[in-house]
Amino acid sequence: MKVTLKVFRFNGERDYLPHYDTIEMEIDEKKDVVLDVLNRIKWEHDGSFTYRRSCRHGICGSCAIKVNGRSTLACKERMEDMVALFGTELVLEPVSKKRAIKDMVVDKSDFWERYERVKPWLEAEIDEHPTMENIIPPEEAEKLEESDYCIQCGCCYYACPVIEVNENYLGPAAFEKAFRFTADVRDHAKRERLEIVDRLGEGVWDCVKCFECAEACPKHIDPIGKITKLHNEIFKEGVARSNVATRHAVGFKHSIKKHGILDEGHLVAYSEGFGVLKHLPEAFEMWKKGKIVMPWEMPKSKKLDEIKKLVEIASTVRF
């Protein structure tokens, strides 16, 4: 099968702007992975083409790029699947164009800097002269779920839309790792880590819930699932401080208990406190268009008594 590749080319030492090389290539779509194509570009077309690669077994996390905007671990992704998804015209780009140094190689220091902020290591009293292994029972190990499989490839991180717009945001890979250690029974820094990821502007409350990270992860780790678990732990461990984000989450419960359906106006007021005033101009515009339900007109779910009872008996968290 013949494919047309549009390949991002940029040399940070020399070029002002990137350009794209167009390369026609015969591929064996049943056999080739994306890395084979990268290799062939270098070996057969242009020896100066630069990309990271090492293990070729989906474990070193070096070869992440983007194919038609989709985060891709080049050594794992089959060309057959790429062609099925995007057709025979494929655009090969680095995971972050704005962080490109040379061709597919990016400056990943932003990833590592944020990763390190969640203390991605075991915090424990270690016996320097152990006489036996520090083993955890299988049921404890299961609590880590698949979070230990992360290879730090950056696929999720550079697919996250918040990373593009908020330079303080820790991002899905760091959260995934924070979860991995908070779930580890041997670890002593659970609370400290939860406090780090609880910070507004940096932590889990700034996740937009787009699920891009879950789609992007080549190891199927489901980073957003771990982000939800961190939210849950923040409440369970009593780390949550009263702020607009935590009240927003809790406000749903109050509203459901009272009306069954959500009281949108009350939820904003409850979450914001005095900050609700800044929403008044927008609320007025909405009111003019018949988009605001007055408190006395607030609809209620039928069989509300059932809902109230379920909120009573099925609640598992307090705040």
């Binding site: 038609n68 905007g69 989709r70 998804l85 995007f86 839309p161 918040v162 717009v165 507004l200 502007g201 409350w205 700034d206 996740c207 937009v208 819930k209 787009c210 699920f211 891009e212 879950a214 789609e215 489901d222 939800t228 939210h231 849950n232 409440f235 607009v244 984000a245 927003h248 989450a249 809790v250 406000g251 749903f252 419960k253 459901i256 069954g260 359906i261 959500l262 949108e264 914001e272 927008e282 515009e285 909405m286 268009k289 018949g290 988009k291 605001i292 339900v293 609809p299 779910s301 039928k302 059932e306 809902i307 009872k309 379920l310 909120v311 008996i313 099925a314 598992t316 968290v317 705040f319």
Partner: protein, 294 residues
Amino acid sequence: MSNRLTYALYTGCTARESTPELLKSTLAVAKKLDIELVLLDEASCCGASHLQDFDDFLSLVLNARNICYAERLDLPMVTICNTCQLNTAMTKERLDSDPKLRARVNEALEEVGLVYKGTVSVRHFLYALIEDYGLERLRSKVVKPLSQFNIAAFYGCHNIRPSQLHNKMNKGEESPYRPTTLDDLIEALEGNSVDYDHKNRCCGFHVDLQAPTTSNILTGNAIIDAYDNSADFMVTPCPLCHLNLDVKQEAALKTINREARLPVLHLPQMIGLALGCSPEELGLNHNVVPVDLV
């Protein structure tokens, strides 16, 4: 009338409050297509992924209860909000695949005389229309083709991601990287679907309160991408995306320093226009950015 399509409609909260035009236009379109929608008035809020952050088990119980009422009617459930779809589908998936969890949830539901069985499907109305009604049949009902409009489909995250979940709930396979259903629907109504990068991106709605700048930038970028690609209007199957794209349009564009004005229609508002529904029936007067197309 045995082949009349009938669904249990889970409206969600937004369609009964800040986007009344969504419920109105959904009912108008269903009437035109002779689809029967039975409203699930007993249903509660799905938790919108925020209750899930606070109390996962409670959110499962409440969503399971909502599905119970569709099961009682023995009707497939349809949703008209992507986030309702996500949370309801996710509840179904977890309960159907984990007998222990289902038993725990049913223990609570038994206290109010309900039991979750897992017998009905849960799909967004968009997919029910395409899979059950069919685009060819819909095309045959068009009385006012949308051929003069360039229409930018905005899919909304929670209908296309996580793809594994949605492809299990829907019969077709929608790629989150190259979704096509909404564009196919636009073409069936004889509109011109606009190709633009942001059609499958996030609008940022879920951080509107705690991170308005993030939300405004994401929304602004999506609107301006559609605008720069000559869209006459955008269309979305999600009322939460709609709140951001429509109600917050001015603030969002101001944040990214661009000037534009782009009407944003709910999915059934667009379908309704092609089927010959009146602007009143579709609640176009509720849209904040004036829909001055008709």
